[in-house]
């Protein structure tokens, strides 16, 4: 190691809040959002001590940490134990993304027989250890804040880190994607063109991306606060969607989030 790599004194390092980033079952995309914040990365790294972030650093410092960011869902026995240790090490525990807050796309296993499936996939199923369900972090330990999205919005992540350091409530809206469409003056594709769109029941945060690209929202930010899924389901049926199509619409990246889960099961067994 070159000597200049050690030029920061231990004192300078320890004076900053320690942040750790933990990965469970996920695609790595939400933690990548931090490295994708190209304009803010060096400033963020100046304000905090990134103490544990294996995707970005070989230097893995021990806890306790001021803030722990958790990506991914729990799908193995080992991870179910590891999240308990992680919680004990972190003053504030924040989940980032649909896997950590709702079980992610891998929660689609929750409606299948995982053992049968693994037997079909692997030549030696005894090598594989996995749980029947993919569950969000909050089903295992108390969580201080859940940031939505598949993937998360990096500006919301920066806001969340900034707010947490300042001890204030992060400015992350809980209204629906419809609000963002209105603000962008998008013509409603559900009403005007009859395109099935989950915007009315999905939490804002993406900037109404899909409707802005001429397609219906597929719900990657998960359910908004008190969503009226029953009414939207009626609308989908009115547009000619089958029970299976309706069930699949709710059953994707936030399938295990309760309002979507309930709506998908009601569609499956009307």
């Amino acid at each position: 190691m070159s000597s200049d790599a050690k030029s920061l004194t231990a004192r300078e390092r320890t004076a900053k809040p320690k942040v750790a980033i933990f990965k469970f079952a996920s695609c790595d995309g939400c933690q990548l959002s931090l490295l994708d914040a190209e304009d803010e990365l060096l400033a963020v790294a100046g304000a905090i001590e990134i103490a544990y972030f294996p995707e970005a650093s070989r230097n893995m410092r021990k806890g306790p940490y001021d803030i722990g960011l958790v990506e991914g869902s729990v799908i193995t026995h080992n991870d179910a134990e590891r999240i308990q240790q992680v919680r004990r090490q972190c003053n504030k525990l924040i989940t980032i993304g649909a896997c950590a807050t709702a079980g992610g796309i891998q929660a689609l296993r929750n409606w299948k027989d995982v053992d049968d499936f693994i037997r079909a996939v692997y030549a030696s199923p005894q090598f594989i250890s996995t749980l029947k369900l993919s569950t969000p972090i909050a089903e295992h330990v108390p969580v201080d804040f859940e940031l939505r999205g598949c993937p998360i919005n990096k500006q919301q992540l920066i806001e969340l880190i900034t707010a947490t350091l300042a001890g204030r409530k992060p400015n992350v809206p809980t209204y629906s994607v419809c609000m963002e469409c209105k603000r962008k003056a998008n013509v409603c594709i559900l009403v005007a063109r009859g395109v099935p769109c989950l915007g009315p029941v999905t939490q804002a945060g993406c900037g109404a991306l899909c409707p802005s690209y001429d397609r219906g929202c597929y719900g990657c930010f998960g359910p908004m606060e008190s969503p009226n899924t029953a009414s939207l389901s009626d609308q989908f049926r009115f547009l000619g969607q089958t029970d299976t199509q309706l069930s699949h619409a709710f059953r994707s990246f936030n399938a295990w989030a309760w309002p979507f889960r309930k709506a998908s099961e009601e569609a499956e067994h009307p």
């Binding site: 996920s26 294996p54 230097n59 799908i75 796309i105 499936f117 397609r215 994707s252």
Partner: protein, 432 residues
């Protein structure tokens, strides 16, 4: 410690790779007794989710295998499904897809060269520490990465899990003027990439060469992205439809990702080194000249020099992106309508880390009945272990901490994406 016997190199959590893996090397004197690239990233079992879903959902669902290279998944998915349905895409859509891939390559290669790999060569734990003394390089890297992301954002709405790719084309295509706005940034990126080739060539490389079988796509006119035959330096020359006749996956205990091997031949290498060695003549002139000036001519057999090859591919991606921004005219429709009909199709595209194979079987209602996906890292896994078996013997005389770091660096030459590799465990029964 040569001759002391029983030395063990062990890394529980590999850093600066995507996903979760570890390394275990057992030495017996100077001899390497055992090498295991341990992949404990838990399997997410995607193939199950794809079964019964409509083919139009495949690009969105498979993107979630990897947050680093979602476009690769979207591209292999749409091409395989288009083949299954017998769809021909508009030439301008084809051009836009090349641009889309350029964006991902620029973003991913800039991330790897500067943020994941360069710290090894310069002796830092990470890019943040490196920025303290090399701020200018890191700022350039971030701007380069941002330009790649800007392309992806324009075509796909956002950098990670973009939303516009569709079977038959895109949900929405940009106006000509929007692409023209990229040109200024791309000119800067091209210059910076050329400087990056020069800069990476001045790093110091261990004297380590291996006799690889390189596998990559090859196209008659282009450096490969979405099309071409699959070729190797040992005579392989096949269509994507023949892939499974030549390659197979093995299930080993220490890895949740299946090991892919060439039938009867064993391990092989995919990614920048393979593409460069097999397609050197297809690189645009600035990229080829930069390579030659950096002392790089095929075949490059030293995996550590892949950092220079990635920089050469950055030059290619910037030059190609510029070409597309000039040549583009909006197609008459953003996509060809895709009918519900039964079919069977395979496709291979070049992800930043190497070839990515998809196969789908679709029924008459347009629902997927079977899917198989083989990501680049699962194909390189066996090769990484073979490398380490040789390389560990080279570094065994070094102090343990240094030897460990060196072995980690060797693995990072492959830019392994463990999340990808694990997320594609097959549905079909592997009888090996």
């Amino acid at each position: 410690m040569t001759g002391s016997g029983g030395k063990t190199i062990k890394v529980d959590t590999l850093a600066r790779v995507e996903g979760e893996g570890g390394l275990y090397i057992k030495m017996a004197g100077d001899r390497v007794a055992d090498v295991k690239l341990r992949i404990y990233e838990p399997p997410r079992l995607f193939e199950a989710f794809l079964r019964g879903r409509h083919f139009s959902e495949a690009p969105d669902i498979t993107a979630r295998i990897c947050g680093i290279c979602p476009i690769a998944y979207q591209m292999s998915a749409v091409h395989a499904i288009e083949r299954a349905l017998g769809i021909t895409i508009d030439p301008m859509v084809r051009l836009l897809r090349r641009l889309f891939y350029c964006g991902e390559w620029i973003e991913s290669h800039a991330l790897h060269i500067f943020m994941l790999h360069a710290p090894d060569f310069l002796g830092y734990a990470d890019v943040i520490a490196m920025a303290k003394n090399h701020r200018e390089i890191v700022e350039k890297a971030l701007r380069l990465k941002k330009i790649g992301n800007r392309i992806v954002q324009l075509l796909g709405g956002r950098e990670i899990h973009p939303i516009s790719a569709a079977v038959g084309g895109f949900h929405k295509v940009p106006a000509k003027s929007q692409l023209a706005q990229l040109a200024e940034d791309l000119e800067w990126a091209l210059q910076t990439s050329l400087e990056t080739v020069q800069w990476t060539s001045t790093l110091s490389f261990p004297d380590f060469e291996q006799d690889y079988e390189f596998v990559a796509l090859r196209h008659p006119q282009e450096y490969p992205f979405n099309e071409g035959r699959l070729v190797s330096n040992r005579g392989l020359d096949i269509d994507a439809a023949e892939y499974e006749d030549h390659f197979m996956e093995l299930h080993v205990k220490h890895s949740n990702a299946l090991h892919s091997v060439l039938r009867g031949r064993g391990s092989y290498l995919v990614g920048p080194l393979a593409r460069f060695n097999l397609n050197f003549d297809k690189l645009p002139e600035p990229a080829r000249n930069a390579a030659i000036q950096a002392g790089l001519r095929p075949p490059v057999k030293n995996p550590f020099r892949s950092i220079i090859v990635r920089a050469v591919e950055l030059v290619f991606a910037c030059a190609e992106a510029l070409r597309v921004t000039h040549a583009y005219e909006p197609p008459s429709a953003p996509r060809v309508e895709a009918p519900n009909q039964s079919g069977f199709g395979q496709a291979i595209t070049e992800a930043p880390r190497g070839i990515l194979y998809h196969r789908y079987v679709i029924d008459k209602n347009g629902l997927i009945t079977a899917a198989k996906i083989v990501p680049p890292t699962s194909q390189n896994q066996r090769r990484i272990e073979d490398d380490l078996r040789e390389y560990a013997a080279h570094v065994t005389a070094w102090p343990l901490e240094e030897a460990t770091w060196k072995c980690e660096q060797e693995i990072r030459c492959y830019d392994p994406c463990i999340s990808c590799a694990t997320h594609f465990l097959r549905v079909t029964i592997d009888r090996g």
